[in-house]
Symmetry: C2
Subunit: 441 residues, 2 copies
């Protein structure tokens, strides 16, 4: 896998993106600069904010100006937000006067609410225009707009949103009618402080291509388009996946996350889990005499506790994802538990059988476990079944408890479930062993 710099000259967006994605992080800045200007522009427009910022990082202000001016105001705002606060005024100053004012307005919002995601560029028409006038007016506005436009918004002089009209409606309407006669009055709009995930749901539920954003006074401030929904969904999934892996959400690409932030977001959970896992020392300590009497018991500890952790990780992952997709509601907790009792028992029994076979086989081949191997087999089988059942139920229940108490169910990560199950699994296993093998060794 030697790194080589390929002298490609791709043409289409797809080719450029494929080529870009295969480039090593280290080469991307240099390769971007080496692209023909037109390809570079095509690629730059197809990339996301983090990649755009990364390219700009290595450039002079003069180069940056070219690329920043390619961007629509909402995209420019997203790029600027990738930089430290100290660097943001410098980037803002590269924009033309009108765009700069729009970007500044966007930067005043949190980046994850409607106001921070919207594009301030949209097509507005007046209610008293005829549709013919409106089409002529659109022709003028359309030339100065970079973004795709799907609807024209009908505003009064105070910017109050009165109605909406799609290009299609305008196209199909008789030319003499006025805009207010054919516009739809029951406009779906979202407040500027609505969370982006909620906005995504509105767009999806209504099958809209764009939704207007209004402030507390009912004035229209911008639009959010359907493309933004894809990005919001992707960011949500990333957050969930990282939490499920036992990491705090990074909010930044892997290589752009600073060492300190990465250490904190991983180390925090690792330390919590480590301290929780210390309970296993205490738990095993209670059985120190039994372990000393039969060291063979210790050999099976990792096998047994890990099967509980694995079963729990499966159950929690399935429940968390189903919750995120709306397949499972809080009210379904009992239905889920009923189902999971069945899976816990059947999966546990299957693994118990595998464990039993293993002990018999090794005893037959190597005489590993002495006279008591049947009782050992029984001990392991009972323990595995019980621990897998317990792990499955813990994994399935924890997301419900977290959600019910206001936490993110995705925090029920595989490592967290495993830690909880390890401690209880040890107690189950060694208690079973104490009963079945008491005096046996």
């Amino acid at each position: 896998m030697a790194q080589q710099i390929t002298p490609v000259e791709p043409q289409t967006v797809e080719e450029l993106l494929d080529w870009w994605l295969e480039l090593s992080e280290d080469d991307r800045q240099a390769e971007f600069v080496a692209l023909p200007r037109q390809d570079a522009g095509t690629l730059f427009l197809a990339l996301e904010a983090a990649d755009r910022a990364f390219i700009l990082e290595s450039q002079t202000d003069q180069e940056r100006r070219v690329w920043m001016r390619l961007l629509a105001p909402d995209d420019a705002a997203d790029v600027i937000q990738q930089f430290d606060e100290d660097d943001q005024p410098g980037l803002l100053s590269l924009l033309d006067f009108r765009t700069r004012a729009q970007v500044e307005a966007l930067l005043a919002y949190q980046s994850d609410v409607a106001g921070g995601k919207m594009s301030p560029r949209y097509i507005r028409v007046q209610p008293e225009m005829t549709t013919e006038q409106a089409v002529g007016y659109l022709r003028l506005q359309a030339e100065s707009s970079h973004e795709l436009m799907y609807y024209a918004y009908v505003l009064d002089k105070q910017d109050t949103l009165l109605g909406v009209i799609s290009y299609r409606d305008l196209l199909l309407a008789p030319p003499a009618k006025t805009v207010s006669e054919i516009m739809a009055r029951d406009v779906v709009s979202v407040p500027d402080d609505m969370d982006q995930e909620e906005v995504a749901r509105v767009l999806r539920g209504r099958a809209l291509l764009a939704v207007p954003v209004v402030n507390a006074e009912g004035q229209m401030r911008g639009i959010i388009t359907v493309d933004d929904v894809v990005e919001v969904e992707r960011a949500e999934a990333t957050e969930d996946i990282q939490k499920l892996g036992g990491v705090e959400a990074l909010d930044m690409p892997y290589f752009r996350t600073t060492r300190y932030s990465m250490f904190r977001k991983r180390g925090g959970w690792l330390a919590v889990l480590f301290v929780g896992q210390m309970l296993t020392i205490t738990a095993m300590g209670f059985f120190e005499d039994e372990l000393a009497a039969a060291v063979v018991l210790a050999l099976f500890v990792p096998l047994i506790i890990s099967s509980g952790g694995n079963a729990g990780s499966q159950a929690s992952t399935l429940v968390i994802r189903a919750m995120a997709l709306g397949e499972i509601a809080l009210n379904d907790w009992w239905a889920v538990i009923k189902r999971e009792i069945g899976f816990g028992l059947s999966l546990g029994a299957m693994l118990a059988l595998l464990g039993f076979i293993r002990i018999f086989a090794w005893e037959g081949m190597f005489g590993s476990y002495g006279d008591n191997f049947v009782m050992l087999g029984i001990t392991i089988s009972i323990s595995v079944t019980a621990v897998v059942l317990w792990g499955t139920l813990t994994g399935a229940t924890l997301p419900f408890i977290l959600r019910r108490t206001g936490f993110d169910p995705a925090s029920a990560s595989a490592p967290l479930v495993a830690t909880i199950v390890d401690v209880t699994g040890l107690i189950i296993y060694l208690s079973v062993a104490k009963v079945t093998l008491l005096g046996g060794f």
Copy 2:
């Protein structure tokens, strides 16, 4: 959390969806039937294929006919695919003649390629029409089309795709020009056998609202719209999340997955992991004498191996997600490993310190570990650092190896990484102990 049937009569799509998502699975079919007809229709159109199929399951053919006929052909095909093959002809027969033919054509494709995702209903115009004629023609076609339309496609008599024209272009063009004069000729189209994820990338990269699907002969067969992209991305994320949790992708909602299929998809991985984990018995067996001499060593086994597993799960999750988002390419493997060595060492050292403090504190308070507690502390600290480093590197490397060899990197699940790290972690820990504590107990 008693289940109660609320006598709500919601109005908007959002209200209906919110209400639906909070319903328990058991109540959904009955509650749907109890809805006023108009609300039921609104809700049915807003649901996804799996939910639609679930509602239909409990209904008679006469009721099903009403709902099936609400659906566009591609949506109808998706719903029919949720049923067993035996039930599919019955559902098809409920559709009107024209739609049935279109749905049958869609069902001939795999559901995850362009041909299986496309809508066969789109607006076509002829190249020699004037734009004025085209607008009139559109007015006729628009009334019979259920889906949102953004573009009109210019086809010749043999259905060959010649060009595309947006509503906006048509609106802004002089009425006397012909369609062929103003249409865009460099149409982006996708072949009917292209994978849906690839189609999603084309739409996103080009910021298109819809893309035409053509067969091997260059004939246009349908369109894929931007809404489909959101669903594809969501399905992809679900698959990755389930794999990361150590489950085979379900491809169905939690409650709609049959018991057998659920058992197989969880049991398969659990059995593989269990058999792999059996190596821990062998590994610990090598150190049986040391464990017998110092049972205290056994007490720390779960703590040490789990810290390696947790660190590994974090690293693999971050790398897998970054790969899926295109942030990390195969070529970046060395840059990633360099970074992860730093994290492994620093995170390991932090946990080692915590472990050291714990041993000193317990020795001070309870005299738990006898004269050798300093050496025990050193043993645990060295082992934790080494095992965390090893876990981090395993978790970061495995996705690269899987991808390089053609497997899905998401298979490097938390449970798989933990299993690999458990076996090697034990060997590391007990080898360190053998050196540091040799003859010490």
